[in-house]
Symmetry: C2
Subunit: 302 residues, 2 copies
């Protein structure tokens, strides 16, 4: 599996005791981790023992920190250095509450044809490619559509997890699987519900659509079939990165040509196990094992 | 002037629109600047056209960012690279409200005798040395006292701006001028008021004590004289770095052997001009010029 994170970030998590707007806070602990949705996907895959390559864009001293953390975590990184500065995110955790500050992704300066060529060189035949997250301001709006075509030319398959016009573009280019959440799906397609929105993406050209529904699980829609999987019990925790864990499971299912109900089941179990872990890109292995045996699956032919 | 910042930081300022605990925020603008009190002092001195050298400790990729920003700002840096990682501070600005998150200063690993020798090599005869801020966990508790002795051995004079036991240590070592704020002074000395606390620091061995009093200005206490200067009008703005601007003015006054009432007058004007500027380490030059002519000075012999 090759994950592509065009808008990689340095994710900082600060523990504080009582967040009060207007006050000065002593941070009691700092956790710095390479982030961005594709990197979270790769981290989950590696934690399950799978081989994964990380590519995407990094820049400046924040990029040095991103690569340094990946190296320390033992993750193989083929990130591409461009000019400018990578973005950071800061999550302030106060007890169970998380307050998030996302730097804008406008700090990169890049030569897109060169970046596209270098990513293309990393795509092996039969590759499963995962492209996740927003596009940096410096990338062309159809960057994911170009990537879909490049993957298909090389004989691979691609999952795209993004929002807005880039989601529609990836569908039109024929992405094998799209993974929006329900809000992103309705906003991008204007569909009345998740099934209608997914049907529109299929009509544009997508092979399949997996819609993450938060605590309600996941729905996978194809031309001939709809499957919904939901966790048997509510899992409390940090939902950041839950969608990325679902994508990790979907990438493995695509690689092994698993049937849709099995793909959905595994995606929901891994996603809930990510919620149970306090850090994005990590899963609680005990919750994972437990949920793999205890889920509700509904499926129907269309 | 040589400024010493043993706990240098990368100061990040995020503009957001409506800070809500528990929510996710898009940061509309990011400002990254080398910080720590000594670096703020140096930045103010440089903005006034004075030659200044910055030393202190930096580490890791955050240290690279700190040095990169200083270079981009045209500030001469003789910072010492040590192991570990420098700290960051994040200030979230929402309209007039600033919410601050300070990473702990426990990320540095260092060989103090080597650091002390390298700082010593930067102290020229007749130097004015400014040592500001908290000590990193890895420095010895009497690091500022050692620095005071090193400066005096080389024929220089030193201003120390710190709090807690380090303030008392610097006094005992005979620092030429201490610059606590009133809260720090009362907390460290247990004095009933600023005059009593300052008198205790003089008794320990300090040459003079300048106490910053927030909007009430500054009091300088020596064995034979007390001078208070206050701004003629209240200045609205960001008080972060106001004390550092006062120290910058005091360093220049010490260098030129100005009388105390003149030192206090200039320190209050520069401090208020720093409040009028939104960023720490910067001064509003118009406010500075205006306030230099419009202050209230009170002095008395003791």
């Amino acid at each position: 599996v090759l994950t592509v994170t065009l808008n990689a970030a340095l994710d900082l998590t600060y523990q504080v005791d009582g967040l009060r707007p207007g006050a000065s806070h002593r941070v009691s602990s700092v956790h710095a981790q390479a982030g961005g949705k594709g990197i979270n996907v790769a981290r989950v895959l590696a934690s399950l023992g799978h081989s994964v390559t990380i590519t995407g864009l990094v820049a400046g001293s924040v990029g040095v920190e991103i690569r340094g953390e990946l190296e320390a975590a033992g993750l193989r990184d083929e990130l591409i250095d461009v000019d400018g500065q990578s973005r950071r995110t800061v999550t302030v955790v106060d007890g169970d509450d998380a307050t998030v500050f996302n730097e804008p992704g406008d700090g990169l300066r890049l030569d897109w044809p060169d970046v596209r060529r270098r990513i293309g060189a990393l795509i092996e035949p039969d590759a499963i490619v995962v492209a996740s997250g927003s596009l940096p301001a410096a990338a062309p709006p159809d960057a994911y559509a170009q990537l879909v075509r490049d993957v298909h030319e090389r004989g691979g398959r691609i999952i795209v997890d993004t929002a807005g016009p880039a989601l529609l573009d990836a569908a039109s280019a024929g992405a094998d699987l799209l993974k929006p959440n329900d809000e992103e799906l309705l906003a991008a397609t204007g569909g009345a519900d998740a099934l209608a929105g997914s049907t529109l993406l299929l009509a544009l050209g997508a092979g399949a659509v997996a819609v993450s529904l938060g605590p309600d699980g996941l729905m996978i829609v194809r031309a001939d079939e709809v499957v919904t999987a939901r966790p048997a019990s509510f899992v409390n925790g940090n939902p950041t990165g839950a969608g990325d864990a679902a994508v990790a499971a979907l990438a493995l299912a695509l690689e092994d040509d698993l049937p849709m109900h099995e793909a959905a089941r595994r995606a929901v179990a891994l996603s809930a196990a990510a919620v149970a872990h306090p850090l994005a890109g990590h899963v609680d292995q005990r919750v994972h094992r437990e949920l793999l045996t205890r889920q509700t699956i509904e499926g129907e032919a269309r």
